[in-house]
Chain length 483, copies 2
């Protein structure tokens, strides 16, 4: 009798474990059922982490971002997968650590002296974008602004899941295209007439128009702004608003951010006017930390674009989905790698089936983020995360609350950035066992990367970033009072 019951208990336990496991497997993709919202990414470029009104800036004006922050949810501990533009965007769009597929560096212009083929000089064939996955489940898809993931036909956004593209293929562009050096295209055809003479306004015009024209199907729009990346160029009327800033560079930067913020306001207004705001999931973030070249302010962080201090990789991220997400602020550690699985969960979709490896050794494609909607709804706690970075000889791991940076020019460092925001306190000697554990963890990751990063930027940057490594400590917002 006892034995029989035991057997039943065992069977029940077994079934419970099996079904639990199956659920766990599916969890990252479709925990929650929604009615396929529109999805809007608004990406800023090299924006300083302190440079928004709601984040503390007293000089920079971002009324629309401030409003979005007050109505949406601000992620206080958000990371990108690289500290420079191109690999960061590659990580965001594929949902995978870009080093997995050799996309470690920014894209220098391809020329014959390079060892790789032009086709491998960009987002590798076979890597799928958010647009690929969403198009596959019936979404209309568009990218407006900067591409920066390769210049060949095989890399063109129209061949990487985006039905519509208006913008530049490269990483930067002058802000007054009618004045020269214009390479802004629409689906492969260079355009010469601009609805607004200033590029940021023009991209907003394009976004507004595209939203107005797409009301029937759910859509995915990637507003891939290049503002406030260099060159530092702004409209006279925007500059005039910042008479409280004397420094010409900082004043121009402020005007550029203001124009970006105005664009965000117009996009949201358009959604509201069309009754689409309630069914649109919006995320705003920057592709990496503030650059040292555009007069940005990294707020409480050390470092900057291009290195692995928080100033390079810890970025502002803001989510908004009316009625679904909570408003306020979360300390959950999240990543731009979470966008893809979060969007697919919102769209109630699975990713396109894909495999890595050569034919005889294929295995299902690995995605590095997870669906964070339950976290943003306040329904679940965030996962403990482990992220890796590598750029120009420096590499880094963030393992839970511990962060380890391997440098080119001197001993590695160990910080606890959530307690020590400015990374002023290197714990490598004090906690040498943990330090070594992190060192080995990073080596193991590096040893499992593909044998071949697809391209490199100049090692000039190794030298430059090593030499300037200590120059970017946290400072108060630059003050330029009127005389």
């Amino acid at each position: 009798m006892l034995k029989k019951y035991n057997l039943i208990y065992f069977l029940l336990l077994f079934l419970l474990i099996v079904s639990f496991d199956a659920n766990a497997q599916k969890k990252i993709w479709n925990e929650i059922k929604f009615k396929s919202p529109n999805i809007l990414i608004i990406l800023a470029d090299d924006m300083g982490q302190g440079d928004m009104g709601f984040l503390g800036s007293k000089k920079i004006r971002t009324p629309n971002l401030n409003k979005l922050a007050s109505e949406g949810i601000y992620c206080n501990n958000a990371y990108v997968s690289a500290s420079v533009c191109a690999p960061s965007r590659a990580g965001l769009l594929t949902g995978r650590q870009p080093q997995r597929f050799g996309f470690e560096h920014n894209l220098p212009k391809w020329d014959k002296s390079m060892a790789n083929t032009p086709e491998s000089h960009g987002l590798k064939m076979g890597e799928l974008t958010i647009a690929d996955h969403l198009k596959n489940v019936g979404y209309e898809t568009a990218i407006i602004g900067k591409w920066h993931l390769g210049e060949m036909d095989v890399h063109h956004p129209n061949n990487r899941g985006f039905n519509y593209f208006c913008g530049m293929i490269g990483g930067a562009h002058p802000y007054f295209p009618e004045k020269g050096n214009n390479s802004i295209q629409r689906n492969g055809v260079v355009i010469n007439k601009f609805s607004s003479p200033y590029l940021t306004d023009f991209f907003t015009d394009e976004g507004v128009k595209w939203i107005q024209e797409h009301k029937k199907k759910p859509w995915f729009l990637f507003m891939s702004y290049n503002a406030p990346h260099t060159p530092l160029q702004a409209k006279e009327e925007d500059l005039a608003l910042f008479s409280n800033i004397n420094d010409k560079g900082r004043k121009t930067y402020a005007a550029m951010v203001y124009s970006l913020d105005r664009g965000i306001g117009r996009l949201i207004k358009t959604l509201k006017k069309q009754g689409q705001l309630e069914n649109t999931l919006i995320v705003f973030l920057s592709d990496n930390g503030g650059a040292t070249t555009n007069h940005s302010w990294r707020g409480v962080f050390s470092g900057a674009k291009g290195n692995m201090r928080e100033g390079g990789i810890h970025i502002p991220m803001l989510w908004y989905w009316k009625g679904v997400l909570k408003s306020g602020r979360t300390d959950a550690v999240v990543s731009s790698l979470d966008l893809l699985p979060t969007f697919l969960a919102a769209a109630n979709a699975q990713p396109i089936e894909a495999y890595d490896g050569k034919e005889k050794k294929k295995h299902p494609r690995i995605y590095d983020g997870y669906n964070i909607l339950p976290v943003l709804q306040g329904k679940e706690n965030a996962q403990v995360r482990r992220f890796f970075w590598r750029l120009q000889g420096q590499s880094c791991v963030l393992d839970g609350k511990d962060k380890f940076i391997r440098l080119t020019h001197r001993p590695a460092q160990y910080f606890r950035p959530f307690e020590d925001l400015g990374e002023r306190n290197d714990l490598s000697e004090q906690h040498s066992e943990k330090f070594l554990e992190l060192y080995k963890m990073l080596m193991h990751w590096e040893s499992e990367l593909p044998t071949y990063p697809s391209f490199f930027t100049s090692p000039y940057w190794i030298k430059a970033s090593a030499e300037n490594y200590d120059d970017y400590i946290p400072v108060p917002e630059p003050e330029y009072p009127n005389p």
Copy 2:
């Protein structure tokens, strides 16, 4: 009167300085005038630093190398430019740190999944070999044995300065070619008949024959043996000589080295018979330290092939030139990079004019070694040297007597290997200022390398060499006494 003399003194001093400077400029190339000797390189492959009778081995028999050592000059502090075969051979033949031109790793077989073109998967176009330079001044040139510098037509030894080639294009070959997997070629044509069934003997046959056939012009012969590289295969009669070794692997290794040594004896005998020994400059060395896979013994050193401990890069080097070089032993720090300028000086030749960089920014090609004949003659002291290495994530600088190794998996190390042969005493904490100086020195070198190593071996080796890093400490010669 006084003024006049002063003027004359100044003029004389000025002339002295000017002429001294001009000499200094020329010095690396043609300090000494010789009658263009024949030049013979004998290269061993993965040979252990303890594995010669004259270096202390009690088990391995090298009577001909012992004799050469007693009549020639042994360099006790000689280095190669890489700790694995292919880049080490690239450095030796070009006289340049191979990392300068992207040749950092061993050559994996090219396949379509690689990002580079097959043409860039080997010794870069435009890099000139010792054979190119010597052929340019009228030398007959030949390489017999292992190539390992690329598999395309553009890399073929016949296209890289060698009039004659007999051997294999790849990095390893079975030792009994008639038994299968034969790819031994002569100037591009695979051969099937072998004058000796054992590869090392066959290469010696080829060398002897080639020397016999070339008596008129000065010649350059590169005996690029693959012994005692794996696979471990030896002749029965050679194995029979080592009944004092029970371990099968070590016994086979001993027999392989013995066959190599026998070949060296035959080459020297041939030179003597033809009356050419007095006009032949001979150098013997190994392409890197003993491997962990071929039962070699690294003698007093730590580490092995593939890492930057002395066991990987500090190799035996032996010079012989009857009547010109002194005999004995020198502690001068020298390198395989010195072969090219030394040979050109012996041949009283200048290198072929060559430039690096793109058209608008050309600068004269840099060679990393210098003519060491005056050192080997005992006429001049050796220069203080600075060498750099990088392989699979590890890098290293030897600056005078200080050596710094940057590792992938734990903190960097600082040794003084000429006082601490086995590298047991890490000075990084004790001399932290020097440690940091070396760290920066290495970073500067790395930041000036080309943006693009041309190819990579598997990062599997990063992991393997990190995990085994401490396993190869100095041990006495393995003893395998008879029962």
